[in-house]
């Protein structure tokens, strides 16, 4: 003997799918938000690092200038150990800043390429998916009307 629940199993399955789609829409929107947050966080982090290294570079350049000044004075007096360490520190800071700048450019290039897919996905979540859910609910209504059943919508 066929149970009534078996006859309407498609309706119940469609209701479960509609609910799953709603959950999917909300959860994927959160995923997209977290992705966007991560982009902003990385941009801010790189800028902070660049700022720190620029400050460090300024201090190291000042140290090098002071060293070179002292060297010039000491040379007249008989000698100076040189400013190799100070010069190396300046070069290191310059290299770090240049490296960060290149990564910042890569991130911006990636962000530009990400805009299109991100926009399409958000449109899918905000426009297309609600339409799909409404379409499913209409199908459910149609099936229930055709069979003369009216189960509580989950």
């Amino acid at each position: 003997m066929t149970d009534v629940a078996d006859i309407h199993a498609d309706i119940e399955a469609l209701k479960e799918l509609a609910s799953a789609l709603t959950r999917y829409r909300h959860a994927q929107r959160e995923v997209a938000d977290r992705g966007d947050y991560q982009i902003a966080a990385t941009r801010a982090s790189l800028e902070e690092k660049a700022s720190q290294w620029r400050s460090l570079l300024a201090r190291r350049q000042a140290d090098l200038a002071a060293c070179q000044h002292a060297a010039a004075m000491d040379t007249e007096a008989g000698g100076h150990p040189g400013c190799h360490a100070e010069a190396a520190a300046v070069r290191e800071a310059e290299d770090r800043i240049e490296s960060i700048r290149r990564w910042q450019q890569q991130v911006e290039d990636g962000a530009s390429a990400f805009v299109g897919p991100s926009s399409r996905f958000r449109n899918l979540l905000d426009v297309d998916l609600p339409r799909t859910e409404h379409h499913l609910l209409a199908i459910i209504d149609g099936l229930e009307a055709a069979r003369g059943v009216r189960a509580a919508r989950s």
């Binding site: 959860a27 997209a32 977290r34 990385t42 390429a113």
Partner: protein
């Protein structure tokens, strides 16, 4: 959800795929075929495409953080 965004998104994609497979066990008329073509396939394709790009971008962001830790 607490993992990396694209990994969580892929998990959600697998879950919704399982929900669709379960639905198909009970719903397989012409309307189901039409729904699959017009709604389901575009949804999955677009989701998969976005998550792939998101994953690649998240890898780039992680590398940018990692490679600038001095």
């Amino acid at each position: 959800m607490a993992g990396r965004p694209h990994e969580d998104g892929e998990l959600l994609l697998r879950e919704i795929g399982a929900a669709w497979a379960k639905t198909q066990q009970h719903w397989h008329d012409d309307m189901a075929s039409s729904f699959g073509r017009s709604h389901w396939t575009p949804l999955i394709d677009e989701s998969r495409s976005y998550l792939r790009v998101l994953g690649e971008f998240m890898e780039l962001l992680a590398a940018a953080e990692r490679e600038t830790e001095y």
